[in-house]
Symmetry: C2
């Protein structure tokens, strides 16, 4: 199985959700991407269908938007 990718931007909602997702899936099964620190991956996230963070891109390509931290437009600043 390919990894899931958890996109976030460092907001408090994101950090809590990150811990919960890692607990659920196991740390080795989730790649964590901080779009605030790594803006080069925002386009990749958008192309995958991510509209807001935190979001989880599952290994089969679905995007689960979790709670609501910030839209990608806000992350781009």
């Amino acid at each position: 199985m390919s990894k899931s990718i958890f996109y976030h931007a460092g907001c408090p909602v994101c950090v809590t959700a990150e811990q919960d997702i890692v607990d659920l899936a196991g740390r080795g099964n989730v790649e964590i991407v901080h779009l605030g620190n790594d803006g080069s991956r925002i386009t990749e996230a958008e192309n995958a269908g991510v509209k807001s963070v935190p979001a989880l891109l599952t290994s089969n390509g679905n995007v689960l938007h979790i709670n609501f931290g910030a839209s990608l437009e806000e992350v781009k600043g």
Copy 2:
């Protein structure tokens, strides 16, 4: 670790999210509750902090609201 509980109400968004969560956590680690079929558990869900479905109540008591299917008020009908 106690189980996580995935609350949903049978909506298309819920069913997709359910499959993704089960894939992520493993079927044995998540209890699936269909609030449309099992209305007796709506109060339990509300008390846990669930505002809309689909939602995942993690084993440490956090609620992750995933995408947006329906508010609990809509589920109550």
